[in-house]
Symmetry: C3
Subunit: 342 residues, 3 copies
Amino acid sequence: MSANSYTVAELADRFGLVAHGDAARVIDGVGTLAGAGPSQLTFLSNSKYAGQLAGTRAGVVVLREADLAQCPGAALIARDPYVAYATIAALFEHLPAAPAGIHPSAVVASTARVSPSASIGPCSVVEADAVIEDGVVLGPHCVIGEGCVVGAQSRLVARVTLVTRVTLGKRVLVHPGAVIGSDGFGLAFDRDHWIKLPQLGGVRIGDDCEIGANTTIDRGALDDTVLEEDVRLDNQIQIAHNVTIGAHTALAGCAAVAGSAKIGRYCMIGGNAGVLGHLELADRVTITAKSLVTHSIREPGEYSSGTPLQENRQWRKNAARFKHLDDYARRLAALEKDSSNE
Amino acid sequence: MSANSYTVAELADRFGLVAHGDAARVIDGVGTLAGAGPSQLTFLSNSKYAGQLAGTRAGVVVLREADLAQCPGAALIARDPYVAYATIAALFEHLPAAPAGIHPSAVVASTARVSPSASIGPCSVVEADAVIEDGVVLGPHCVIGEGCVVGAQSRLVARVTLVTRVTLGKRVLVHPGAVIGSDGFGLAFDRDHWIKLPQLGGVRIGDDCEIGANTTIDRGALDDTVLEEDVRLDNQIQIAHNVTIGAHTALAGCAAVAGSAKIGRYCMIGGNAGVLGHLELADRVTITAKSLVTHSIREPGEYSSGTPLQENRQWRKNAARFKHLDDYARRLAALEKDSSNE
Amino acid sequence: MSANSYTVAELADRFGLVAHGDAARVIDGVGTLAGAGPSQLTFLSNSKYAGQLAGTRAGVVVLREADLAQCPGAALIARDPYVAYATIAALFEHLPAAPAGIHPSAVVASTARVSPSASIGPCSVVEADAVIEDGVVLGPHCVIGEGCVVGAQSRLVARVTLVTRVTLGKRVLVHPGAVIGSDGFGLAFDRDHWIKLPQLGGVRIGDDCEIGANTTIDRGALDDTVLEEDVRLDNQIQIAHNVTIGAHTALAGCAAVAGSAKIGRYCMIGGNAGVLGHLELADRVTITAKSLVTHSIREPGEYSSGTPLQENRQWRKNAARFKHLDDYARRLAALEKDSSNE
């Protein structure tokens, strides 16, 4: 598809890698070890796939020096083949054209400041006092609420809503359906009904963050909700008001973080994991999928909750016993006491 | 509401069922056993509701022959009354008018190919090289990204986004807020920060699939994410990149499937259940609600994880004991050894 | 930011509170105990923060009489400082201007009835026979389907979709990305494929409800899905067809309720908790985060499921033992029997 093509030598040069084999071979795309053809680049990173190396038809393979001997064709040697591949593959990505300027169907308030180099897509709405910096791409159907700021080179793919008091840093990538700056869920119970707490804070998103499709990030009640730089959120994640997420932390799909929780840097939160409100997680904490964090975590490491999957009939028996675990523990202790008294 | 009406005899004829009782009765709608009136059709499928049959005021009841004796009025005999009801009830569904043609507020790229019989709703956007086949209905606020294909007779109810390299089969029904073809969550960690892996694959959705509201389906990293025909996804489901879901499999609300998992045909995944990445599930596997699948499943059957609901005070005691289960098991074995040595 | 300002005496008067200290002080905003400045109001409700009171720089503090002695400046005495704060803070909320009338980019069907006092935002679509009552604000990109009713003074912040047969009461607040009235997930299995059950019911939402961002509420199969008044739904909640939720019940983010479940009044459902289909929950039931309700609950109280978070290595050992819990229980009983026989 891509009009881009490069020789193996050109790729080696551009990315500072050492080439082996046919350096004149022309590469015009990427593929998997098993599927790549003679004009495509592939990579070997996970040793699980090493068995596929000898049979690959790829034009060139990015790999570690240790794997070179098994490679049937051209190779590019990388310390970390996965990282090198990610960087090279970006050459072959085709992004839709996004011409600078405002599409005639877009609605831009007269007090909004839109850089002439920004692209405002069809039916997008930019409200009063919003700021759209240089090189920003708003795809179709974005809504940029009053006073929000979209930092330079950010890309809102389509149908992204920034509600109010939201500031995105530079090079932030937001996927369709994401809602940033919606009201936090703040309620006070007044005898027999709820009263809403106005949500007067905002949201600050650092440079190089990525926000997945249909993810929601509420604005703060008084202070801001904050994502530091290079935070990576997958799809359908829920970030409640006044949460802080440290730089370089990644959350997998459907994870949720409750109000005022503070997550450290370089954390990894698994799919559908949850963090209760007001907790703190240290740097470099990993939470496995579907676990619920119910207390603050002071030490780096990997944490989990839940029970293993079993065939339903066996699981039912075990689950029923869980309801009596406290009783069993007491009875076990009693037996031990009896036994030691004998 | 519906202008449609049919006699019991006409319904019997049209759907190949045997009528009993007043075959000339006119039916103009459907209702529940308890709520249907004399011009409405209802059904009895679940024996749990058999007690309501004698008292029903419905004009006609779709039921099994065995239940006929208890039916106070007209009846239509069906092998599977639920299936027969589903088919008949479609007669009484009112879909909003969707006139062929492009609404003046829609934005359609000059290189898009839109069938003259398709209906493109208000504010919908169809980008370059997209293909909209015969009889397709795009409701308001849909975005069809560059090069996407919407198969004949498909209906995108409203505000559906197809990002890029998405192909929908025929008669696919997509509910509002769904995002198909968003970037997979692919990241490589480069010493102290993340690098994004370009997501160069697409999404292929088979004929007769249904995609729920606010569901997200990412496109593949290199190969495609695939749903075979007649896959049924409820609301707020997350399908990660390179997942494959076999034909006739259904996922209930808030289920999530991680990257490169391969789910078989005729599977049933319960609400908020999760499947970890790279796993394989055989055909006809059922996963109960909120379970987490942590290993591949080779045999058909029903699988579960989790613990039962209890009153919180009792649950706390048991949950605290869970943290020592390994210790208890060892102590139990030690006691048994002692006991057998005596 | 806000142009609004009030003296402490004016606030006392307006909200029926007793002022202490400098009643002439001018207040023009709100802040936290730790962060509020001399022209801002704050509050002390949770005793956890009592230590911050002596050091606060806030212009006035809303607090209980018992805490007055520790307050360094002006104070307003309230029986429930959190509720009083919520009410006062609303004075300082700035909502975007929403001028009455229909934005030129909106698309309103000729048969829709739109109150002259309603505000229809950019690119919003109001379809045939819809009713938009007095003082309603539809932000940008809302879609109001055929025949839907939006009650007086309701506010749909942006990009809200009401599909069909949806009625919102008065003062309903709906956040971006919410989808109300989408098809319920009703399927009948016909030998080797699925048949869709038409979803012929609607959705009725009571007065003063709040619906979070990207939340989905399906319409009923035959009868309606119902939220009584003052129900509060956080973000990314899934409400299936024919669910009923009693007045004043609140659900936290990512909770899900399956089809035909009936939840009582004044319930609290924690984040990512689930309720299976056809269950009934009494009034004043609390479900803790991530719990799964698998049976009806007849008594008020707090209920939970799940296991506690542990360091992964220890958790793995315990989780592996869970698979044998039934066996352990039997062996424990056998040992007890042996022991009592000795």
